[in-house]
């Protein structure tokens, strides 16, 4: 074959393959919008402000704004949105200091050999499937929180409002801790790589001025790696918002009730979606499925904003070892 023609064909074939990424996004958006349209019309703004999620499966089918729904059905995602935000916030609250502590340990404190071993173990943590985290949370973490840790908090730290109340469930704390464990490897390894790229001259200069190790870290290394660290936190947040299986297994599946203390069950959008498509098919009006799809659309919108922002920030940090080893 004529080499020039071959080159042209090769180029267009590869272009077509890479353009499938845009096609996939287009298809995902189209499917979600088409299937959630009835729910958007029928539920309107109440979808975001109502606590009650009751598909009213035993009621009668009526027509509202041109779409079929059950007569007393109420679709509100406030519980799930709150649950998603609380889980992610708790995961960041626990995960960020620990992950940055680990990154500092790996780059500034540990000798190189120990650092390599700990890096390997932390990245191993990133490889463990989320169902296995869920299984562990269900067998070990949940019972520990419920029987030991939460009674302790409720007895001794009751003066802090969130710990003031009887112990019902380990759902909220267990979800937060499990998701924190899942995002720590992401934040730790990207931050580690960014911090390791700090020019040696800067650090030596700081040392020559009499700074301690800690001051070199906070005054020279952190400012240098700032944008990558922040980006890694955003990536962790993106992962936390979309985390499904582990939360579905440990959250104790709250419904129709907002958590009042740290000892309540909880539920997130992703986990609820994973649990309820089966029962959604028993709804004769089909509105249950449409509402779940709208929930997916909301979740997608939130995670997309966070992820795009994060990737924009981490961009330079992307040509590094962390990205090839850790799922981000």
């Amino acid at each position: 074959m004529n080499p020039r023609v071959y080159d042209r064909i090769y180029g267009s074939a590869t272009a077509l393959c890479s353009a499938t990424s845009i096609l996939f996004i287009f298809v995902i958006g189209l499917v979600l919008l088409t299937y959630s349209y009835p729910s958007i019309v029928v539920n309107g703004i109440r979808f975001f402000t109502t606590v009650t999620w009751n598909p009213d499966l035993s009621g009668a089918v009526t027509t509202l704004n041109g779409f079929k729904t059950m007569s007393n059905a109420s679709y509100g995602i406030l519980v799930f949105v709150t649950g998603t935000l609380i889980t992610s916030a708790l995961a960041l609250l626990i995960g960020v200091p620990v992950a940055i502590g680990i990154a500092v340990f790996l780059t500034e404190v540990a000798p190189p050999k120990l650092s390599a071993v700990v890096s390997f173990l932390v990245e191993l943590l990133a490889g463990i499937p989320s169902v296995v985290y869920g299984f562990w949370g269900f067998l070990v973490l949940g019972p520990f929180l419920l029987q030991t840790f939460e009674p302790f908090l409720s007895e001794h730290l009751y003066f802090i409002p969130v710990f003031d109340g009887p112990v019902y469930s380990s759902g909220l704390l267990a979800s937060g801790i499990i998701v924190a464990l899942m995002i720590i490897p992401i934040i730790a390894s990207i931050s580690r790589d960014a911090m390791a790229r700090t020019p040696k001259e800067l650090k030596e200069g700081g040392r020559a001025l009499g700074l301690t190790d800690h001051e070199v870290t906070t005054k020279i290394v952190f400012p240098y790696a700032k944008s990558s660290i922040f980006g890694s936190i955003m990536l962790g947040l993106g992962r936390a918002l979309g985390e499904t299986m582990a939360v579905a297994m440990v959250s104790n599946s709250a419904i129709n009730e907002l958590p009042k203390t740290a000892f309540y069950p909880i539920n997130t959008m992703a986990a609820f979606m994973a649990q309820s498509l089966d029962s959604a098919f028993t709804d004769p009006s089909g509105m249950y499925v449409h509402s779940l799809v709208e929930m997916g659309l909301v979740l997608l919108a939130i995670t997309m904003i966070v992820n795009v922002l994060a990737r924009f920030l981490v961009r330079q940090g992307f040509i590094s070892g962390a990205e090839t080893v850790v799922r981000v």
Partner: protein
Amino acid sequence: MDTDFHRNASKKTLSNTIIDQPTKTWYDSAVTSNYKLRRLRDKFVKSFTIVCVVAVLYPLSSMLYMFVYKGATLISLSTITQPTIGSSSFVSGGLANAIEGTLLLLGIGSSVAVCLGVMGGVYIAEFSRNSSLAKGIRFGVDVLAGVPSIVLGYVGFLLLVIYFGWGYSALAGGLTLSVFMFPYIIRTTELALRKVPDEVREAAKALGSNNATVVNRLTLRFALPGIITGILLAISIGLGETAPLLYTASFSNYVPSALLQSPVGYLTYVVYVFSQLPSAEAHSLAYQASFLLIAIIVTLNFAARVLVQRFSKVT
């Protein structure tokens, strides 16, 4: 004379102040005590980082103990050769159906994702690195990588299972999984190709090669270890996923026989569902499935790591 005396006196006091000051001023003592404080803070922060590491390694070792040690003691040959028997209330047997189903789903998913991902990566790294199309594609890949896996599962369900009428099937599950794995592969391929120095391309172009020859004969060969690493990691990520498969592959006790209209079992489902059943047999199967998952993922990651090291030696 008088002025001279004065000059001397002033000289003397000046030299006195220069020599005496450092040992006695408030400034010096403040620095010393502050230095102790700074050293103390330094030690405190170092111990905090060690606490952080322990806080993460403790759960990890607990998980490894439970699933690797206990899982390994429970596993036997019949786990691999026999399919699961029974359903929700009573489950027993082995995991042959789930193991074969996982292989089938990963086979379909990774073959589609590897074709699209590697070719796509070649395009944005070699053919149009800085064009606006390449930038758009990179943005698209970023967005796609950020789609929550359960949302992907829903789209796969609505489009493939319901709209196309494929039913719960290996093809629906495999294709959904491929959309999940595709962004990782295209990105790692691009990164691996970009690590090949531009001089190689320039030398080949100077000898009259076109883009296609440069890619086939040179850059792809240099970048191959990096690309394979990316593929191995994408497979290990796909292996650990549950959410995209829940409503596309569903689950089945039978070893997969058809690509369409027949649900397929897979290992992560076993962990998710059987772990929440009350019976000891179900728990045992969940332990064994967890063990298999961790063992395969660790092996894949280890292989990837070895390749990364060899790769970094080459370039």
